[in-house]
Symmetry: C2
Subunit: 138 residues, 2 copies
């Protein structure tokens, strides 16, 4: 049996975060030692690794909960799980698209600033005046 600290090291999820996940119902309440400390089996380590991986991929707590529910009904079709992952992929792509525009804009702003004085600073002027933007990054 693992202590919460062992589990934390094994999965890379911080100790308070593990307790938080328990509170949020992502993992079921752990068994306790005689002195009321949490004890985990390797099954629980696997589930936490699953959660960690999904969080790393940017899935929300709610989406992860849905996936866990699905995984507990092995006869259900795969489509739902696929849809959750696909939605996340779409979200990630939207974020990338947006960040690319920000990148272009910031690049332009910083590379144009050759002045010495704030009064003539391109950064400040560009921020004050959206019209100086080439793209509509909003």
């Amino acid at each position: 049996m693992l202590t919460i600290g062992d589990l934390s090291k094994a999965t890379g999820v911080k100790v308070p975060t593990i307790r938080y996940y328990e509170q949020m119902g992502l993992i079921s309440p752990a068994e306790r030692s005689e002195g009321n400390q949490r004890r985990y089996s390797s099954e629980e380590r696997e589930r936490l690794a699953f959660i960690r991986h999904a969080r790393d991929l940017g899935l929300t707590i709610d989406a992860i909960r849905a996936l866990i529910d699905l995984s507990q009904h092995p006869e259900r079709p795969c489509r739902d799980a696929d849809r959750i992952a696909a939605e996340q992929l779409a979200t990630v792509r939207r974020k990338i698209a947006r960040l690319r525009k920000l990148e272009a804009e910031l690049e332009r702003i910083t590379s144009h600033c050759h002045s010495d004085q704030i009064s003539d600073c391109y950064v400040i002027r560009a921020l004050a005046n959206h019209d100086l933007c080439h793209d509509d990054h909003d």
Copy 2:
């Protein structure tokens, strides 16, 4: 003079957000009408547009406050403003790099899922087992 609603429409910043910015000291407390309602001049509209633009580019409230401080000392060198923008650019680039990895991983996960049953779902298996990943997206 603009009401807070007019200002909101003019800048795209929501009414409660304007009040929040005032509370946070990003904009100075507005003049008031006889009936205690906020009234804004076009100067204040410009400052709010500046804030909006900077937020859109992902700058934090603190960074924006720093830029506003700078812009009020026209004789100071431009370097500081440039540094703030450059830091934001670096942050954006880091985010893009990370999201690209997530994109690749999610793409791979979703496109491999041809099964009908959760029990054999690649999405679930891939999330459960980080070793199935091609990249170290953590």
